[in-house]
């Protein structure tokens, strides 16, 4: 089993290479498509032609596109994402600073939405068409239809402004903060907002696959064995349903990472999302490029993890 698992992971890592290559191509060429002169765009419309030419040479923009791409890729492998022209420091430093904050926020939200989504889906399916099922279905629908940015504002209005229970913004208190309880206090609202929005999809899918699994023959066998209905649902049906849910949780990670952009902006969370929004409005395009690439790679790795979990759960998947 263990050797098979490693072989599977190895194989998937190999398959990752073309994906990462493709990602880098897309990210590079989107930026290459910028209309007009990138150096001009970076320096602004008042830049002198000499300065523009110098920057072009400095960035290697006077070379051909494939050449530029290879240089860029080579630099990235050495951890060099270029310099942010707005903040005038290496992009890798900015990303390193911001990445953890997003990881904490999105990670917490993903864990929360998985737990609540799975639970809500199971309960909903085992009480199909009952009052609880209808209530859950309604809440799920509200979550799916709710704009993350507005829900965040509502949370601030209620919990921070009206009741003064939780901080409205930032990751740590400015005075006397910085420890774990302080972080958790700051995390509750943004992570809760993000999780609430993301729970719906998982809950819906869990309900649907549970209903599908509960009609299978092996569930009848489990009942014929004299198992308690709780065991039939939580062990037999849930494990079989989980196999089709895990990949969706991986995909949901992308939704959470994307939603983090809004939530970080609303709660002024110092993560990659708010960094990207600022970078876009200041036309700091290299920073956008680096940020998008890093998040995309993180997303691909999360999906890989989801596949590995599925491999462990389902013995029928072969390496």
């Amino acid at each position: 089993m263990a050797t098979q698992l490693w072989r599977y992971i190895g194989k998937r890592l190999l398959l990752l290479i073309p994906v990462l290559f493709g990602l880098s191509l897309i990210v590079f060429f989107i930026m290459a498509l910028i209309p007009g002169d990138p150096a001009q765009a970076i320096l602004g419309s008042y830049a002198t032609p000499e300065n523009v030419a110098r920057l072009n040479a400095q960035l290697g923009l006077d070379k051909s596109l494939p050449e530029q791409y290879l240089t860029w890729l080579g630099n990235i492998f050495q951890g060099d994402f270029g310099r942010s022209y707005h903040q005038n420091r290496p992009i890798i430093d900015i990303i390193a600073e911001r990445f953890n904050a997003t990881l904490i926020l999105a990670g917490t939200a993903l864990v929360l939405c998985s737990i609540f989504g799975l639970l809500a889906g199971i309960i909903s399916a085992s009480r199909q068409y009952g009052v609880i099922d209808k209530a859950i279905t309604l809440i799920v629908l509200i979550g799916i239809s709710m704009p993350a940015f507005w829900l965040g504002l509502l949370m601030i209005m209620l919990f921070a402004v009206e009741w003064r229970l939780l901080p409205a913004s930032g990751m740590f208190s400015i005075y006397g903060g910085g420890d774990l309880p302080d972080l958790i206090r700051h995390l509750i609202l943004p992570a809760g907002t993000l999780a609430f929005i993301a729970t719906g999809v998982i809950a819906r899918l869990t309900r649907a696959s549970m209903l599908e699994v509960l009609r299978q023959d092996f569930i009848r066998t489990a009942r014929a064995k004299g198992l308690h209905e709780r065991r039939v649902i939580y062990r037999h049906a849930f494990k079989a349903a989980l196999v089709s849910i895990v990949p969706v949780i991986g995909i949901q990670a992308g939704f959470v990472l994307g939603g983090a952009v809004y939530v970080e902006t609303v709660f002024q969370w110092p993560g990659m999302g708010s960094m990207l929004v600022n970078a876009i409005s200041t036309r700091d395009l290299l920073l956008v490029q680096g940020g998008v690439l890093v998040i995309a790679v993180a997303y691909v790795l999360i999906n890989l993890a989801a596949d590995v979990v599925q491999f462990i759960l389902d013995p029928r998947v072969t390496a």
């Binding site: 994906v19 493709g22 990602l23 897309i26 990210v27 989107i30 498509l33 910028i34 209309p35 199909q128 629908l141 799916i144 239809s145 709710m146 704009p147 940015f149 507005w150 504002l153 509502l154 601030i156 209005m157 549970m210 209903l211 009609r215 023959d217 092996f218 569930i219 009848r220 066998t221 489990a222 009942r223 014929a224 064995k225 004299g226 198992l227 209905e229 037999h236 494990k239 079989a240 196999v243 992308g254 939704f255 939603g259 952009v261 809004y262 990207l276 929004v277 876009i280 409005s281 395009l285 956008v288 490029q289 998008v292 998040i295 995309a296 997303y299 691909v300 389902d314 013995p315 029928r316």
Partner: protein
């Protein structure tokens, strides 16, 4: 040709073909979807007539009227930080958001469907190239790609529209390709190709009409998203630029005022929510109506136990015969306002150590009879309407769920037909055996595992110690069925109910399993209820047989006697269906006609339509069982003459 090639959306919506209820009717009947439709129509109508409504200019600033609270005369929803009327801005903003969202949907649908149709229709290299590209796009977190695109194009409403449309292309491409692939080699496409139509014509006239439902479903499920996401980009300041406003940018501007004037952001927020919610409700309705798999509650979950009528739950009122005594069992399925009477009152008993064969064609009610004994018929739609199942002077239909659970897999055990689908695919067979034991008595996991291995050895599984760690899919069909048998034996049952245990197996394995069952029944002194459609099998393992037809027992008696002197025309037919290897026969017999529909059973003899001996008398009233001798009965007015 045309009738075959086109399943156009319109006629599907109106339900002209196939479906009994039209999807449009389903949509309206779905109350939530109908509510969504009404709300959405209201919003759209108001947005359409906004230019003619007596509203102040949405962009006219009036610094003296800043932040007036809602419900003030002249400004029903108040004013914002620049003194602009929020109601007017809201309606104009809704217009913008709707137009942008719908336009983005159309762009995404057009480009994505084109890609999907081409990939599906041309296949091969076109397919792999296009879909690789789509996969690449999907490797990005959704909103992030939109952000990157806006970063390149620059902030602005039109650029936001493009960005959102582009990131939604993969959904259309994937869904449409999925359907287009299945159409590529269908007859009507081949016919069009042979008739000389070029690819473009075929794509537009043959493929497109058939993928339209998928496009509509995808549109209805993504348009809400697109409105939400364009609003999101505007909220971030990357979409609509002042003075133009959509709902998102209104929210973005109001954001700074949440502590002083929360209504400025709440109003557009509520509007986005209402809009997206109504679209999602409607979208779900459309999907349910167009996707046949989800139609009419097809996915009802079966309860832990078959629903049972009060009549069937009554206590035993007579002296029980044998180990199991079943009387007048009636099980029905209630589907689409129709009653399917699957089991119509069979009465039989099984003695200790005896094997009773229940034999009949598929659909004769033999499996449902077996499942009804321990409440394993899927419910809904199944319901046990009457009769009794007596075991040890208790009516199993009337006991509590907890008591029933003790019998299930304990004294009464099942073996099912197809062990691949009836064993859990994700647990090892050892684990499943252990679970069967631990459900009934306290035993440690390791002890139970040892017993499980012993059980596997008992059913002659070679190398049982190792096999216990196997998953069902790693075993052969015969081995899997041995595992099922081992599982049934785990708690030393008094009665084993075997539901076609050998049907899914090939002949040599079949013989081994039968021999095994026979030996185990002898060794353990257990009774066996053996369900099959094969008289050959019955002859090998059973003492007595009950022949079922349309939910009734038409003949019951000792196997040897029935085989020698069948007293019912149906039994005779069934016996002659068995090819006899020892004796040369000219032809294989088959029974002409089909069994009657169980939702429309005849009053009299249910076999009458397929019987050579039928007379008027057969059809007039229900036929009673004729007693031939103490053991042997048959439900035919000619029974005595036939033997």
């Amino acid at each position: 040709m045309t009738t075959n090639s086109q399943t156009p959306l319109l006629s599907r919506l109106l339900g002209r073909q196939h479906s009994r209820t039209s999807p449009l009717a389903l949509l309206v009947r779905n109350r939530l979807a109908a509510a969504g439709l009404v709300v959405l129509c209201l919003v759209v109508i108001i947005a359409l007539i906004t230019p003619w409504l007596p509203l102040p200019d949405p962009n006219a600033t009036q610094p003296s009227d800043r932040l007036i609270s809602p419900f003030t005369a002249g400004h029903w929803l108040g004013t914002d930080q620049l003194g602009r009327d929020i109601l007017s801005r809201l309606l104009w903003g809704t217009r913008v958001s709707l137009v942008v969202g719908i336009a983005a949907t159309l762009v995404a649908a057009f480009v994505g469907s084109t890609i999907g149709i081409m990939a599906g229709y041309f296949g091969k290299r076109v397919d792999s190239m296009l879909m690789r590209g789509i996969d690449m796009m999907m490797a990005f977190p959704y909103i992030l790609l939109a952000l990157a695109i806006v970063a390149v194009l620059g902030p602005g409403l039109l650029n936001a529209l493009y960005a959102i449309a582009i990131v939604n292309i993969p959904f259309f491409a994937r869904n449409v390709r999925g359907v287009a692939v299945t159409l590529r080699n269908r007859e009507f496409v081949d016919a069009a190709r042979l008739s000389g139509k070029n690819h473009f014509l075929i794509l537009v006239t043959e493929i497109l009409p058939n993928v339209l439902p998928v496009i509509v479903i995808t549109m209805s499920t993504t348009v809400g998203w697109m409105i939400l996401e364009t609003a999101g980009l505007s909220f971030l300041g990357l979409g609509a630029q002042p003075p133009q406003a959509d709902l998102g940018s209104m929210l973005g501007e109001g954001r700074r005022l949440i502590s002083t004037a929360p209504f400025v952001s709440t109003v557009p927020g509520v509007m986005i929510f209402i809009l997206v919610m109504s679209i999602n409700l409607l979208g779900d309705g459309i999907r349910d109506a167009l996707d046949p798999r989800l139609k009419a509650g097809a996915l009802r979950r079966p309860a832990a136990r078959t629903r049972t009528s009060a009549e069937a739950r009554q206590a035993v009122q007579y002296k029980q015969k044998g180990v199991l005594d079943v009387r007048s069992l009636r099980t029905e399925f209630h589907l689409d306002n129709q009653v399917h009477r699957a089991v119509n009152g069979p009465t039989f008993s099984i003695e200790a150590g005896e094997c009773l064969g229940i034999i009949g064609e598929s659909g004769s009610g033999k499996s449902v009879t077996a499942m009804s004994l321990l409440g394993l018929v899927a419910s809904p739609p199944g319901m046990i309407m009457g009769g009794q199942v007596n075991y040890r002077d208790t009516n199993l239909l009337g006991i509590s769920d907890n008591d029933l659970r003790r019998y299930r897999g304990g004294e009464l055990a099942y073996i099912f037909q197809d062990p691949l689908s009836t064993l859990h695919p994700l647990f090892t067979v050892g684990d499943q055996l252990v679970e069967a034991m631990r459900a009934h008595y306290a035993i440690s996991y390791t002890d139970a595992w040892k017993k499980a291995v012993a059980l596997l050895e008992e059913v002659r599984i070679p190398n049982a110690t190792k096999r216990a760690h196997s998953y069902p899919h790693q075993l052969s069909g015969g081995m899997r069925q041995r595992v099922s048998i081992a599982m049934a034996l785990a708690n030393e049952p008094k009665l084993i109910i075997a539901d076609e245990p050998t049907t899914a197996l090939d002949v040599t394995v079949q013989a081994q399993i039968l021999a095994l069952l026979n030996r185990l029944r002898d060794d353990k002194g257990a009774s066996l209820m053996f369900i099959t459609h094969d008289f050959g099998v019955v002859r090998q393992v059973c003492h007595r047989a009950a022949v079922m037809y349309a939910g009734e027992i038409v003949e019951i008696g000792p196997v040897e006697e029935i085989l020698a002197q069948p007293a019912h025309p149906y039994t005779r037919r069934l016996i002659s269906c068995v090819p006899d290897v020892g004796r040369k026969t000219d032809k294989l017999e088959e029974i002409p006609g089909l069994p009657p529909q169980v939702n429309n059973l005849p009053e009299g003899c249910k076999f009458a339509d397929r019987c050579d001996l039928v007379t008027d008398q057969c059809r007039q009233a229900p036929i009673e069982l004729e007693t031939l001798n103490e053991q042997h009965q048959a439900r035919c007015i000619f029974a005595k003459e036939m033997v």
